[in-house]
Amino acid sequence: MKQVKSTSVEVRLPSRLGYEKVAMSTAAAVAKLMGFREDRVEDLKTAVAEACINAIEHGNRLNEGLSVGVVLSAGKDSLEVKVIDDGKGMKTLPPKPDMDRKMHGEEDPRGMGMFLIQALVDEAEWVAGQNGKSSYVRLVIRLDKEAE
């Protein structure tokens, strides 16, 4: 029987769009090592990329003097990903995007990121940092999901 010890991997990204792909690739590598099925790896990649994009754009406001921390913690049955920025964090989550409203110009075509994160992983929570810094999003994807 394969034993999986709790393992942590950390990545620091510059606050520059495009570098979310580094976190995405790292998360995918860890998930593959843990035995996640390919479609769940793809879900994780998109969720991690979107979390990093939010951190770069909204948390750190594209300030390249700030970095985005990505901490991947592999447990026995799940992978937890924390994406940490220097923003104030979210007070309220945006409403679910409505494609009909977007098509009729009543809603911005953008704004899909948080919806995708919530839809693609098993748990997602946004935590505002104390003193308005070090906010993070915490994602969890469970290994047993593939058995469903």
Partner: protein, 119 residues
């Protein structure tokens, strides 16, 4: 870091005899892809390009900003009386496009052959 988006246009005819304008994308589709995605679409002649088929076969990475560009294209196409279809998305991005509701406004097909057969 992001793979530059490239787009080129092909003119095909469906088995039913309809002219189909194919926009073939290559690379990432992200916030930096506006000129390639919307620019290529906006350069099409609206009067003749009534059926637009998007080819995602050579696209590996689409993020929410890239999806927003596709939605902007669908809005413009709807306002211009054009119909948009797409093919070549991976299983994952087919799921993502379905989740966000794009399939209500753009039919998705696995391959170019299947897309053309339906047009």
């Amino acid at each position: 870091m992001q793979s530059e988006t490239k787009a080129h246009v092909d003119q095909l005819t469906s088995p039913a005899g309809h002219p189909v304008t194919v926009l073939r994308f290559e690379g990432d589709i992200a916030s930096t892809s506006k000129d390639a995605v919307l620019g290529a679409y906006q350069a099409l002649p609206k009067a003749t390009a009534k059926l637009v088929l998007l080819d995602f076969t050579k696209v590996d990475y689409i993020n929410s900003s890239g999806i927003a560009l596709v939605i902007q294209m669908l809005i413009e196409a709807s306002n211009s009386g054009q119909k948009v279809y797409a093919y070549g998305l991976s299983a994952h991005f087919t799921k993502v496009f379905t989740m966000v509701g794009i399939t209500k406004y753009a039919g998705l097909f696995p391959t170019q052959t299947e897309a053309l057969a339906a047009l």
